[in-house]
């Protein structure tokens, strides 16, 4: 099965004609390129839907590529279609696809929140211990008592908080 031995090296987007570009290596570590056209995609398209479709259509090549990575490429394409300059596209899209520890996620729309959750899901799954894992223990207890230091999350300015946070009124 070729798909099992493939490993994603790079994922990119081509603007014209719109296509997703995958660089992958096979078991002999030889690099290959696969260009997958993105059809009927426009400024208002749902990236999650299109990413899912692409993943299904090119299952053989994209099965190990995270959906969120494909979505991110499509978002770059979408901003390009909307006419944004490349520099600002890359800056904005990067912040869309990273977790800022100071960003209040309560304020996001459902779509935006869903995206952040997908990103977090990657780390959740990476560290997950499931009943099928040998190290799994249902009631796993670890005591982290004594010698604790201040977290640093209490030190700063309560003043700033009350001034700038208008969300909670």
């Amino acid at each position: 099965m070729s798909e099992i031995t493939q490993k994603m090296r790079k994922l990119g987007i081509r603007f014209d004609p719109p296509s997703l570009v995958l660089i992958y290596s096979n078991d002999k570590m030889k690099l290959h390129q696969r260009v997958m056209p993105v059809r009927n995609f426009n400024a208002g398209s749902n990236v999650n839907f299109f990413a899912t479709q692409l993943k299904q259509r090119h299952e053989e090549f994209l099965h190990s590529v995270p959906l969120i990575s494909i979505e991110k490429m499509l978002r770059i394409l979408q901003e390009h279609i909307r006419g944004s300059p490349l520099e600002s596209i890359l800056k904005n899209i990067n912040s869309e696809y990273e977790i800022n520890p100071d960003e209040d996620l309560n304020k996001l729309t459902d779509d935006q929140l869903h995206r952040k959750k997908l990103i977090m899901e990657a780390s959740f799954v990476a560290n997950q211990l499931q009943p099928s894992d040998p190290d799994y223990e249902y009631d796993r207890q670890v005591d982290f008592e004594d010698n604790k230091i201040e977290s640093g999350w209490d030190s700063e300015s309560n003043a700033k908080e009350t001034e700038t946070d208008d969300f909670w009124g």
């Binding site: 929140l113 780390s123 796993r140 010698n147």
Partner: protein
């Protein structure tokens, strides 16, 4: 223990369930994406299918268990996106016997916002036992060496947990359920009220 199946109705938590079993309500509070649902799912595993009750904008996990040989139904209330409003609907707090407050070990803002959640909680439920959990410690083990002023200041126990690898999750929920039952048996609110009445006489 098996789940009580139909969680499509909201019980009267001040009394007992229709079958006469003791029933308690435990609510979860905290910012969007701190992992409240993930924690519940880790505790309950796959045996329990949650019900989404759209009228209340909440997800209800009904769990049947035995605590000290007594059968008990525990309804865990989880938010269903209500965080985007300024606060929770009063029905969310109504008759709650315990509360689990969660923040994210990788996002400071979720810790900062606990103050607001706590303030709102105490407006509705001034005396119920509260538990605090810092989740996602698998992604930031440093926090397990750290202490936090919010729980300390309010006399709330803090649990270092990970819904992902399961650390301390079961302990957190079992302690909360036990405290909820104790609270229901002997609610300090009522005691306080009687005490206040007596003082007035």
């Amino acid at each position: 223990m098996d789940a009580d199946g139909d969680a499509d109705t909201v019980l009267d938590y001040d009394g007992k369930s229709a079958s006469g079993t003791e029933a308690v309500k435990v609510i979860c509070l905290g910012d969007s994406a701190v992992g409240k649902s993930k924690l519940l799912e880790r505790f309950l595993l796959d045996k329990f299918k949650p019900q989404t009750i759209s009228t209340y904008a909440l997800t209800l996990y009904r769990y049947s268990s035995k605590v000290k040989d007594v059968d008990v139904i525990v309804d865990f209330w989880d938010t269903a996106g209500q965080e985007m409003f300024q606060s929770m609907h009063p029905s969310y707090y109504h008759q709650a016997h315990a509360c689990i407050m969660v923040f994210d070990a990788t996002r400071k803002i979720t810790y900062k916002n606990l103050e607001r959640w706590y303030k709102e909680l105490r407006q509705y439920r001034p005396h119920i036992p509260v538990f605090c959990a810092v989740n996602k410690i698998d992604a930031n083990m440093d926090v397990t060496q750290q202490k936090f002023a919010f729980p300390e200041k309010n006399g709330i126990p803090l649990y270092y947990v990970s819904a992902s690898n399961g650390m301390n999750v079961v302990k957190l929920f079992r302690d909360a359920v036990e405290a909820a039952l104790m609270y229901k048996k002997d609610p300090p609110d009522v005691t306080d009220q009687i005490f206040q009445e007596l003082q007035r006489l």
